[in-house]
Amino acid sequence: MARAATTADTFNAVAEPRRRQILDVLAGGERPVNDLVDELGLAQPQVSKHLRVLREVGAVDVREEGRQRLYSINDRALKPIHDWVKNYEQLWTERFDELDAVLDDLKKEEGDAGADERDSDGDDPDR
């Protein structure tokens, strides 16, 4: 099950918000670490740590150019897992958006009940 382990490691790498931000920046093209530090507003050691994790799972490639190390994204390795995380996050965002609507109704019900001092026994949860 070597493949499963690799997939999960990549999943770990991608399912971390900061690392996903790094990947989003690198999706725009190859960058030196300083650019990432500027764009993310993180300290360099933190960015380097995240880059190391991403490199270890093959999500990011690096090459030397003079004194600089340039990082780039490995799209092929990442796309399926990136899609999975996005889809999962999207599902929960949808659910929570619907939940916001339910909460809005509950707040109104509670407000009404308080306003006319009535017991809302015949509670109708349907819209």
Binding site: A4, N87, W92, R127
Partner: protein, 165 residues
């Protein structure tokens, strides 16, 4: 009527066996709790925009069971069930979760821990999905990588849901 949203769900993996989903709601926690644990209300939000809930049963007590069934758009039914292990009103729910469409190793391979914390009238909800082992989480994620594109997307969706709850 437009409803103000409090942002997107945040998904992280704190450890190799865990997935953590967090979100803040603009409502006190007794209402978030009510929306989370009342069948008629769960029916309104749990399927997101991906289908209709056809069945929600909740027996909210330690040892009690729950079962949710969703009819995905143009697809077959997707069902989940579990047993409550801990119920602290308006604070915390611990439950097992089983996706009925996927042969799983056991009933308690995946545990969901939901916590509700209120601050200034707002509620921070955390849903921690705890797999029994890294292998189980890997299997769940890995199986989503198999198959054709459409199948894969369907599977991903189902798996995503199976991890949730």
């Amino acid at each position: 009527m437009p409803v103000p949203t409090s942002g997107t769900a945040t998904v992280t993996t704190p450890t190799d066996e865990q997935i953590l989903i967090t979100r803040e709601f603009d409502a006190p926690k007794h209402l978030v709790w009510k929306a989370w644990t009342t069948p008629e209300l769960v029916k309104r939000w749990w399927s997101g925009r991906r289908g209709e809930m056809t069945h929600v049963e909740i027996d909210l007590r330690v040892g009690g069971t729950w079962r949710y069934v969703m009819l995905a758009h143009g697809e077959s039914e997707i069902a989940f069930h579990g047993t409550y292990r801990e119920v602290v009103p308006e604070e915390r729910i611990v439950t097992t979760e089983v996706f009925e469409g996927m042969p799983g190793p056991s009933e308690d391979a995946v545990i969901n821990i939901v916590t509700f914390v209120e601050e200034d009238g707002r509620t921070r909800l955390e849903l921690l999905v705890q797999a029994m082992s890294k292998e189980i989480r890997d299997a769940i994620i890995d199986s989503g990588m198999e198959g054709g594109m459409q199948e894969q997307m369907d599977a991903l969706e189902e798996l995503a849901i199976s991890l949730a709850g």
